[in-house]
């Protein structure tokens, strides 16, 4: 096991990793910019090194500074957290080249999954389903009809050379196919000088469902079930659940088996997340994140696992030590991301926290590096806390989250807590009846209302 881990991150995730290290008896090195000198993770770390000025590129993205910090403190491993250098293959490579352990996948796999096209073709080859459609360009309208009939309407005709929405037409029914076909080709020719088009099933009401995977260096791969992260605004997740209100245990088992089999064949290592669009019982792989996710706590709550601990153990060469059938899914968990943003306009609101009082009690977990008197710096992400609850059922979890939000006091900066309250009261949300478009619409209604 490692004796000292450098945490190449900041904020709540630095504290999250620090907590796991401390419980494992591993010493910690915090690195920080001059803007984070007073941060909680810096104060709680065994050692702290200032690695640069506030701008991320000069501090949290500064590979040389982080490696120097690891060298002078004698750290034997680096945990990158999420964001910053966590999916930087060159960083992972450099870390290992310096004789330190990178707590994450190999540089090769980071690079592979960082290229979205390569990621998709790799996963397809490994048996993971993508959005169904034609295998490349269509020969004719007749072929388009055949494929569309197979994948089901609505379908999307897309320019092979396309991008930015040009040369892209939806055909809601078969009657609309011919027109979509010809308009898409005309647009494609005009825009790209190439009228080749292909066809995909059009997911008009998909959910964002992702699967948490863990692989050790001994060929064992397990999954910890899914998270439903459909509640997004401008591709920023705001509220996540485990499990998804849309999935059955059997569906989970099936996609889990496909994913673990794929990653076993790939020889993947450490934590990873397969992201899918999900609609009408169909999973469509969109990308893989080769790191810990922000929303990992909801998985921890329902699987009774410490994912950061598992990452560290695996990076140290330990086997997972249990099999898929040992992983039980119990209860329901919800995470609300608390951002320092105006709940109406989403303008970031950096400033000084004058009062901080987190909720407590049964089934409530807070992952946050806030404290009363802390200045939320304007240089980084606006997420300042994650409030996670677990309860035996989804409805109980919703009620628990509501009462926890009601107890949560953060003064000095505006936060999105009022928005979360409204979401949790919404009848559609309570039924679990939402897609990736739901939150944008909900927010628009709130702004009008």
């Amino acid at each position: 096991m490692f004796s000292k881990i450098l945490i190449a991150n900041r904020g709540e995730i630095a504290l999250r990793i620090l907590r796991a290290c401390r419980e494992l008896g591993i010493r910690t090195v915090a690195v920080h910019s001059t803007a984070d000198t007073d941060a909680m993770y810096v104060r709680l770390a065994d050692e702290a090194v200032c690695i640069g000025p506030p701008a991320s590129r000069d501090s949290y993205l500064n590979v040389a500074a982080i490696l120097s910090a690891a060298t002078i403190t004698g750290a034997d491993a680096i945990h990158p957290g999420y964001g910053f250098l966590s999916e930087n293959a060159d960083f992972a490579e450099t870390v290992e080249a310096h004789g330190l352990t990178f707590i994450g996948p190999t540089a090769e796999h980071i690079r592979m999954m960082g290229d979205k096209i390569t990621a998709k073709t790799t996963m397809m080859a490994l048996g993971v389903p993508l959005v169904p459609g034609s295998d490349g360009a269509l020969e004719s309208l007749e072929q388009a009809r055949e494929v569309a009939a197979k994948v089901g309407y609505p379908v999307l005709i897309k320019a092979a050379a396309g991008g930015g929405g040009r040369g892209m037409k939806v055909a809601p029914t078969e009657a609309d196919l011919e027109e979509a076909w010809s308009v898409a080709r005309t647009e494609a020719r005009a825009a790209f000088g190439n009228d080749e088009v292909y066809l995909e099933k059009y997911l008009d009401k998909p959910r964002h469902i992702e699967l948490q995977i863990m692989a050790d260096t001994h060929g064992n791969v397990v999954h910890y079930g899914e998270r439903d992260c459909s509640l997004q605004r401008r591709h920023q997740k705001l509220l996540e659940e485990a499990g998804s209100p849309a999935l059955t245990a059997r569906q989970r088992d099936e996609i889990g088996a496909i994913a673990t089999s794929a990653l076993t064949k790939l020889g993947y290592r450490n934590a990873g997340t397969l992201e899918f669009l999900y609609q009408d019982g169909q999973f469509c792989f969109i990308e893989m994140n080769t790191r810990l996710q922000v929303e990992h706590p909801v998985t921890e709550m329902v699987c009774d696992v410490d994912l950061v601990r598992e990452q560290i153990r695996i990076a140290a060469g330990e086997p997972i030590g249990y099999s898929q059938s040992d992983i039980k899914f119990s209860g329901h968990a919800i995470e609300c991301r608390i951002n320092a943003e105006d709940p109406q306009t989403f303008m970031p609101t950096p400033g000084t926290i004058t009062v901080y009082h987190p909720p407590g009690g049964l089934g409530v977990r807070i992952d946050s590096a806030l404290y009363a008197g802390y200045r939320v710096p304007p240089y980084y992400d606006s997420m300042i806390a994650k409030l996670i609850v677990r309860a035996p059922t989804r409805l109980e979890a919703i009620e628990r989250m509501r009462r926890a939000l009601d107890e949560f006091v953060i003064e000095g900066v505006k936060t999105v807590i009022p928005l979360h309250r409204k979401i949790l009261e919404d009848p559609q949300f309570r039924k679990g009846d939402y897609t990736i478009h739901w939150l944008e619409n909900f927010v628009a209604r709130q702004q009008q209302g």
Binding site: C50, A65, L67, I72, Y356, G373
Partner: protein
């Protein structure tokens, strides 16, 4: 002009009143005489309105021990030359050579003061302006962090 008569007792008394009352200024004039005592807000420790920002932060059970233990506030010294990077300081080009500079020495702008090794690269730290090296705050082999004071030039 006759020597000014300092009424120390009166001043001490006024200072005591300042402390007791939390005042920041007292001025007394009688005919041609005038006494005015002021205590600026900042140095009056107990007048600092919000100790919370510091007090509220959880204290590390193991005290935070950055690799170098120089007083942090020296980096705020007007003559401080601070480290532009994390690394290891060296006062001489190699162990057998004399140090680039020594305390008390005059330096010109651009003169090499020491080296910082980072990622197997030695980076020259040069004097930003001419002056006298009043203090050298690191020793060869010391780890240094970003922004840490290395040398004071006055």
């Amino acid at each position: 002009m006759s020597r000014l008569l300092v009424d120390a007792d009166a001043i001490r008394a006024l200072a005591e009143i300042l402390t007791d009352t939390g005042l920041t200024e007292i001025e007394i004039a009688e005919k041609d005489n005038r006494i005015r005592v002021v205590r600026a807000a900042a140095p009056v420790a107990h007048a600092v309105p919000a100790p919370a920002p510091v007090a509220a932060a959880p204290v590390a059970p193991t005290p935070v021990a950055p690799p170098a233990a120089h007083p942090a506030d020296l980096s705020k010294h007007p003559g401080a030359v601070t480290s532009p990077m994390v690394g290891v300081a060296y006062l001489a080009p190699d162990p057998s050579s004399p140090a680039f500079v020594s305390e008390g020495q005059q330096v010109v702008a651009g003169q090499t003061l020491l080296l910082i090794e980072a990622m197997k690269t030695f980076n020259q730290i040069k004097a930003p302006r001419a002056g006298t090296v009043s203090r050298i705050l690191v020793q060869s082999g010391d780890p240094v962090e970003f922004g840490e004071a290395l040398v004071i030039i006055e």
